[in-house]
Symmetry: C2
Subunit: 228 residues, 2 copies
DNA sequence: ATCAAAACCGGACCGTGGTCCAGTTTTCTT
DNA sequence: AAGAAAACTGGACCACGGTCCGGTTTTGAT
């Protein structure tokens, strides 16, 4: 039970809007993984269910991009404001939709059987984790993407492409036997502006640590001896 | 001159909207890195300049999030439609703003002096590239983020955090001497749903290749001998 | 200089995400 | 059981991104 302190993270999301009293979705904190609806008012719980149901129906019938806040509200015979009060924003709603499969996945690597769950050596668990996640992503990819509006643009962006391609070329010179095209994506992940921002501004990490981590990553990936 | 075929990528972006005749920004293709404005009509070029100037003024005075298409149009004394015709969408405008520094950066590692530019061994170039990019990102971070709307949410997302933390824990068991917190970000980069989607749906890569790349990455990062 | 076609301008218009608050329903207290 | 407080509802409202098209300007051929 390693992640005991992270139970809250198993919940949908809703980054705590400016609610006067305890935010509905946040109260689930007490409800653990067992039950689903917590101390919601009767009608609120009913509407929540109807909304999720309506959203699921929409995504099934007309694709994830048809999941418009208004459309969901209409489909569930509920006011628009209710949707926002319940889920915070569009992302929150989509996240809630993904929540069930998310919980299952988390359970499988937190307490499931090896090699995904505890029991196997860490490296094997890592391998299994990646493959499991790849497969899982393939399933409800549409929702995952819909929950992250600007997702596709990140990789079709020409400027970003040039940078990544440059890394791929250098990698091919350094480790010709590897799948440098894909490896370059992993490296670029560590240089993503959004990540930089999150780590430096929000987490307060010093720049030098990022630089060290980068050179270390390069050394590991290329099999170079760490020269320091 | 390795990237000759990628010159187009040096340009802002504007993923080719449904323009009847050659799209303005796309015509720059002929203008290489030297000149700035290509075969734009006189008034169009004038307005383009005024728009960029106005946008820069806005971001300087009131921050990047004040760069609203309407605001820019108003500030430049120009119709809203003009902004969209010129830059396609908000992202296009922001990208155009970043274009200058982008070109400079690209030039520095494509044809600049070593170790960033050609001449140094690839691994050293990789190291230099990462650090350069980190520094560059720190500069105009605000714009970079503004150009990618949903950027911050990616890392504050609780579900994603749990997954990443799990990877970090496993990594610490496998390579205790490394900065596993940061390393885990690189690994997770390879499992990003948006990337999966791009590679499988858009590029048509088979799933198995992604899986192989993942296990290979894990092996490299943990220093495990590739057992296959 | 003149004229037609091509390119461009501007602002009205739409859909969507998100906010707000008056009125209603539920829950709690006594 | 009754009444007050807390919580919830729903739809009017706003801002912004993006589309469209009638009217204007530029271009280039004659």
């Amino acid at each position: 039970m390693l992640y005991a302190g992270f139970m809250s993270a198993v919940l949908p999301s809703v980054p705590a809007p400016q609610e006067p009293v305890g935010h509905p979705e946040l109260v689930q904190l007490g409800a653990a993984l067992g039950g689903d609806e917590p101390c919601l008012r009767a009608d609120a719980a009913r509407n929540r269910a109807r909304l999720l149901e309506a959203a699921a129906r929409l995504v099934a019938e007309r694709g994830a991009e048809a999941v418009t806040m208004e459309a969901v509200a209409a489909e569930a015979r509920v006011g628009k404001g209710t949707v926002f009060r319940r889920f915070g924003d569009r992302t929150g709603l989509l996240t809630a939709l993904l929540d069930h499969s998310e919980k299952k996945f988390q359970a499988s690597f937190l307490s499931g059987p090896p090699p995904l769950g505890p029991g196997a050596p860490p490296v094997e668990r890592l391998r299994a984790f990646g493959c499991a996640m790849l497969r899982r992503s393939a399933e409800d990819l549409e929702l995952q993407l819909a929950a992250e509006p600007c997702a596709p643009r990140r990789f079709t962006n020409p400027a970003r492409s040039v940078l990544r391609h440059h890394v791929a070329v250098l990698l091919r010179q350094a480790v010709p036997e590897a799948d440098c095209e894909l490896l370059s994506h992993a490296l670029m992940g560590q240089l993503d502006p959004a990540l930089i921002h999150h780590l430096t501004k929000q987490c307060g990490l010093p720049m030098v640590r990022l630089e060290d981590a980068w050179t270390d990553l390069v050394d590991r990936v290329t099999g170079t001896a760490p020269t320091r």
